[in-house]
Amino acid sequence: SQQGEEDPQALSIQEGENATMNCSYKTSINNLQWYRQNSGRGLVHLILIRSNEREKHSGRLRVTLDTSKKSSSLLITASRAADTASYFCATDGPDDKIIFGKGTRLHILP
């Protein structure tokens, strides 16, 4: 069963706006990762945040992690058309198994 649950399932915003996606999980984790998938392509790794970290930045991406609430958020600032894709969170726990959520479909409107 999938542990990560992304929210919302789909998101449409205007180009230039910020996009926020959330991920919740159920059990303890070592790391949480965010991946992007463009239509028809494989997953591309975006960012990893460890369980002892609270926030991480990479370019226009900002990820937060709240282990007490078992949730993470991915913020994409100043969105661009090329950001249109599906975004997945993935957790790995003590058993080293990586579990992906169902994803958020992000659509950037021109």
């Binding site: 999938q2 399932q9 789909a10 790391n31 990762q33 991946y35 998938q37 239509s39 028809g40 392509r41 494989g42 997953l43 591309v44 790794h45 990893l48 599906s86 997945f88 993935a90 790995d92 990586i98 992906f100 169902k102 994803g103 958020t104 479909r105």
Partner: protein, 114 residues
């Protein structure tokens, strides 16, 4: 009722050998993938097949050759294994279509090259 299965689960072999990893999915999906998990736990796409046709071929040495006999199977053959090939390899499948393309992953094959 395993959805995506891989064999073997563990593979230990010597440098220079040729080995294969098999993947099968019983979900009726039309797209299958091979990923390599590096030491930092990142998954990196290697290949993707859609209905037995190669659609993604990332920068992977020629020693790696995928084979898709039918859309339920995607095998990975590796020639002349090198130490750096040691990793966990994951197979996945998905169904092309609208919305998010959820991928279903196999349990992984841990390859150790000595």
């Amino acid at each position: 009722d395993t959805a995506v299965s891989q064999t073997p689960k563990y593979l230990v072999t010597q440098m220079g050998n040729d080995k294969s990893i098999k993947c099968e999915q019983n979900l009726g999906h039309d797209t299958m993938y091979w990923y390599k998990q590096d030491s930092k736990k990142f998954l990196k796409i290697m290949f993707s097949y859609n209905n037995k046709e190669l659609i993604i071929n990332e920068t992977v040495p020629n020693r790696f050759s995928p084979k898709s006999p039918d859309k339920a199977h995607l095998n990975l053959h590796i020639n002349s294994l090198e130490l750096g090939d040691s990793a966990v390899y994951f197979c996945a499948s998905s169904q092309m279509g609208q919305g998010t393309i959820q991928q279903y992953f196999g349990p992984g094959t841990r390859l150790t090259v000595t």
